[in-house]
């Protein structure tokens, strides 16, 4: 099933999508270009919030709220704490990015990456519409995680445990030589 451009714009959900995509991409753009480190991370919040809202619009409510809880509620906070402990300066600071001799090739690389993948995607799917769908029942996800996907789940839990231990080991200050 395909959908024409004209029909695409008639659908309310697509307007919602546009409304979400713009802040998402703008936020991402400012994240990688902003000269203020804290603001950069705050723009990341906007971008991730947009992504979460997209998940909601796709009926994947659980993933969406997980993004909010884990990313915005925990990861970003960790970022901010990290920044603030490392004495984030207020105001602009220019040396956050490399000089333009690094930036230009990087932009070129990213752009070519985007063009390449976008071309491939449009070539493959063009305007194939998503069939009408029901919101994902969370209980199904839960059941699947604990049955079909139990092995990856366990692996992830081990990774988390390892990360926990690693984090503690890193953050510990040696008592012997401490000030």
């Amino acid at each position: 099933m395909t959908v024409s451009i004209a029909d695409w714009f008639k659908e309310t959900a697509n307007w919602v999508f546009i409304l979400l995509a713009i802040p998402t991409l703008l936020g991402a753009w400012r994240t990688v270009t902003s000269n203020n480190i804290v603001r950069s991370v705050l723009y990341l919040v906007v971008s991730l919030g947009g992504a979460a809202a997209m998940f909601l619009s796709l009926g994947a409510a659980f993933v969406g709220w997980t993004v909010v809880l884990v990313y915005i509620g925990a990861v970003i906070i960790l970022f901010l704490i990290g920044i603030m402990i490392t004495r984030a300066p207020l105001g602009m600071k220019a040396e956050l990015s490399h000089a333009s001799n690094v930036r230009m090739p990087a932009a070129l690389l990213s752009l070519s990456m985007f063009v390449l993948v976008a071309w491939g995607l449009i070539d493959a799917f063009s305007n194939t519409a998503i069939e009408p769908f029901e919101p994902t029942p969370t209980s199904d996800i839960a059941n699947l995680i604990f049955s079909r996907f139990v092995v990856p789940f366990e692996v992830v839990s081990i990774v988390l445990l390892a990360a926990l231990i690693g984090g503690i080991a890193l953050a510990r200050r040696d008592d012997g030589g401490g000030a």
Partner: protein, 340 residues
């Protein structure tokens, strides 16, 4: 009466209702705090504003704050500084969307209600950190960092306590959780007994939830982020005027919201055991608000009685007591859930 079913009409109605509850509720709680606190200190408290018993004191305070100059310190990051209170306020108000005041009186009966409110309430940390950093004040920064560390530490037991409830209820919808507390627990003879979860073995979970909730609220005994005697006012030090009012209202509104959640999760929410049918819709808000009032009173009571902990003691409490206990609680609840 077709317009009653109209989506937009309902939306506006619900928004108005939620805002009304948040703002009037916050004002009432502020008044209660002033009044209860002063009487606990053998004072009288608000007396003149508004005539009898100074009932208009919170309003007067609010007006005073509105008139005050909205200062932002030199060297502050104005944008972030300006946004911070609204992030906190937004997170607080958004929580109310899923709090059910009756079987049908709910902003949105999400399937993931419990999960949603945990996710949303974690956003207020962001606002606090923004406020702490952007104020360009060392006390504010320390306060913000303390708040972040504290809120992250207490997010975990909060989530774990809610998980136990979700396991027991078998649903994440708050309405569903209230319904689960209306289900028959056991029968004596021909009587069907239903009970709130706090009676159904969740007393430990309730205690953990309330401790974590008080910590999330940054109220005594967990008010290190704004500890007056140490950090003057923590991340609020530089705020004044309307933005301070936002924080202030936000604190009391989230006091209501957390109490409402606790009441919903553990005390049966809008429901009274043994009462079914349409009357619940009618009684619902009253019942819920009564339960909220009791919890709010206890929180206020504690605030006017106890001293505050130290930051490291608070972390110790969270990591070595609450989280293991919450896990234990989950284990117990799961075992009971499987066995019976």
């Amino acid at each position: 009466m077709e317009f009653v079913d109209n989506f937009w009409f309902q939306l506006v109605l619900k928004l108005a209702g939620i805002l009304g509850v948040v703002l009037t509720g916050a004002l009432v709680v502020i008044y209660a705090e002033l009044k209860i606190g002063s009487h606990m200190q053998t004072r009288i408290g608000p007396y003149y504003a508004g005539g009898r018993w100074g009932w208009a004191q919170p309003l007067a305070d609010g007006l005073k704050f509105l008139q005050k100059e909205d200062l932002s310190p030199t060297g502050s990051d104005r944008t972030v500084y300006g946004f911070a209170p609204y992030v906190v306020m937004m997170a607080t108000i958004a929580v109310f969307v899923v709090v059910p005041f009756g079987p049908d009186m709910v902003g949105a009966n999400l399937d993931l209600g419990a999960f949603y409110l945990l996710a949303i309430s974690s956003l207020s940390v962001l606002g606090v950190l923004m406020a702490g950093w952007s104020s360009a004040n060392k006390y504010s920064l320390i306060g913000g960092l303390r708040a972040a560390a504290q809120l992250i530490a207490y997010e975990l037991p909060l989530v774990l306590a809610v998980v136990a409830v979700v396991i027991q209820a078998g649903t994440m919808s708050l309405n569903g959780i209230v319904d689960a507390q209306q289900q028959t627990w056991f029968t004596i003879g021909s009587f069907n007994i239903s009970a709130p979860f706090i009676i159904q073995g969740q007393i430990l979970g309730f205690a953990i939830f309330m401790i974590a909730a008080v910590a999330e609220l940054s109220r005594i005994p967990f008010d290190m982020p704004i500890a007056e005697s140490e950090l003057t006012m923590g991340y609020l030090t530089e705020y004044s005027g309307i933005r301070f009012t936002m924080f202030f209202l936000g604190e009391y509104a989230s006091m209501i919201s957390l109490s409402a959640i606790a009441a919903t999760l553990y005390l049966g929410g809008y429901a009274v055991p043994g009462v079914h049918g349409n009357i619940v819709n009618l009684l619902g808000p009253g019942v819920l608000l009564t339960k909220v009032a009791i919890l709010v009173f206890v929180i206020i009571w504690i605030r006017w009685t106890w001293p505050r902990l130290r930051e490291d003691q608070l972390q110790t409490l969270a990591w070595t007591w609450l989280i293991p206990l919450a896990l234990l609680n989950i284990a117990i609840v799961s075992i009971f859930k499987v066995v019976f």
